[in-house]
Amino acid sequence: MSDTHAQTVPYVRKTMVEQSPPPASEIGVVKWLRENLFSGPLNIILTLISLWVVYWVVSHVGPWLINGIWDADSLSECREIRNATMGEGTSAACFGVIGERWQQLVYGFYPKEAYWRPVVALLVFFAGLAPVLFASLPRKLLYFTMASPFLMFMLLWGGSIWGPIAVALGFGVGYAAIKLISPINGLLGTVAAIVLPILYWFLIAGPLAGAVNSVLPIGLEYIPSKDFGGFLLSSIIGVAGIFLSLPLGILLALARQSDLPIIKWCAVTFIEVIRGVPLIVWLFTASLLLNYFLPPGTNFDLMLRVIIMVTLFSAAYIAEVVRGGLAALPKGQYEGADSLGLNYWQSMQLIILPQALKISIPGIVNTFIGLFKDTTLVVFIGLFDPLGLAGAIRASTEWNGIYWELFLFIGIMFFIACFSMGRYSLYLEKKLQRDHR
């Protein structure tokens, strides 16, 4: 910088420097390799070790997968085919078991002639979900979304069509209560909207459905919960748990922030108790203990009990995740909403929750993925999830002794479901990105 002093102190730039391309050593494959894989002795060693591990895994699993035998009816047949074509001792998977038994893994003991019903239910599920997941679809589709739980229930369990319709009417009762009573008295309207539907469901819905059914019996063949199994069971528990626990978890998070001490302490106690005990204990509670508390003779579906427990369990986690999101919002957002005259529910719905939930997306989806995988725990209380069925299949004479192939299949199915949830959460986060950071 020898010319610093040669210049006079005031300085005005006369020509601007144009942008120029980076030097050649800064681009290309070789540069990438050198920078990312071989940038120093430690990195070179780590790269070589990783390559060796990858080679080792592929060289062991690869032939097993490639040699896989698909058309066999039993493990012994598999072995014969292998010995005949590839020679004894060759590593070869026996995927025949999946070809022969996949229906059992997917549907459990659901009657074969009714397999179309879960399939249609799945289509209804995706059709109902689409407008929720993708905001670009027409909003009118949300009416179908509202009807879809009842439709799916009808398809899966069957029975008289009037049952689900009578239950759905309960929500109509609640809505009517809000519309009619709230303008007169806000608090009374809210209470009525909660109490009236409950009274309706307990006292009127059953007899009403029965009465209409005796006049006009329409319905599908009834399939009891004990016939459900496999991925059908896992998905029903998982999906119901996910969709029920989200609103419940949000309410719990709001309750925990409440200014009213009673509400606050109820929420805190609930969350801490539920979180503090392993899910499996709650499942045993659901399957065994509830029988002692319920009046004798009540037939309270085991699957429903499990759904309730799973929902409560993940709601406690969701509540904590959402609370983190609520706490991360600057106080100014609450004040901005308040200063405009929005009431509590409006500011929550329009300002606070959209932002808090956005922050909480990774945590929420994480909880959902955990919940979905935890549905495999129901095997311990005698429900047949995919793992339980794998056990049953291995106990049969044809497939006695097989296991990797089944677990691989089950693993892949779970992976697909969980991976899609993870991807969707990334998509959502990107889409909701609104600031430049």
Partner: protein, 263 residues
Amino acid sequence: MVELTQERTIDRSHMQVSDEVAIEIRNMNKWYGSFHVLRDVNLTVQRGERIVICGPSGSGKSTLIRCINRLEEHQSGDIIVDGTELSSDLKNIDKIRSEVGMCFQHFNLFPHLTILENCTLAPIWVRNTPKKEAEETAMHFLEKVKIPDQAHKYPGMLSGGQQQRVAIARSLCMKPRIMLFDEPTSALDPEMIKEVLDTMIELAEEGMTMLCVTHEMGFAQAVANRVIFMDQGQIVEQNEPTEFFNNPQSERTQLFLSQIIGH
């Protein structure tokens, strides 16, 4: 300090003060825990008055104006806004909040909504204005604060001065009868301070009742008809601006003025 008066003549034709009382605060006290923040505050604001509140940091200026729309709760005394007394009745609070606009130091725009949505949200949900009408009103006020072309952007894409003007427009969309400002320019660069102050002066010219916490003494001299000096939670001195600046009575005020005019 940004000079305003030389560049712009202020139209005082609408700046009349009426006899009607807009805000009345009587013997108001507030504590944070055991800390006595506001001590026996008495203040009457006529409709059309423009009041500037100044004072050292921590003197309770923000707390005072936040009590007026109940962002903070006072513990004793009365606050009557537009004839409605502030009590714990939620209906009254929401009513007062929808009549009283407020601008914050950090704007508090809603980052997940566009500028237009920020402006139409409250009219639609609180006033039940049809969406189309709310959007027309919003565009009208956005034009007034000179940023109609940003309507479909998100707040994060705007400069600080633009954001504060949006915040003013957002409050105006509720057609408030009183506007509160809590240091609206102190988070802004000098260039942007001027654009926000210009917007506020325009508001004053239209006869809006305004309470501004600000250290922009140029603004106070240009539009205020009363300057209030607060210290340690009390109103120490109030006077019309020329007198206040040229002939401060209390020692505290003199000290404060010498400090802020000094630089």
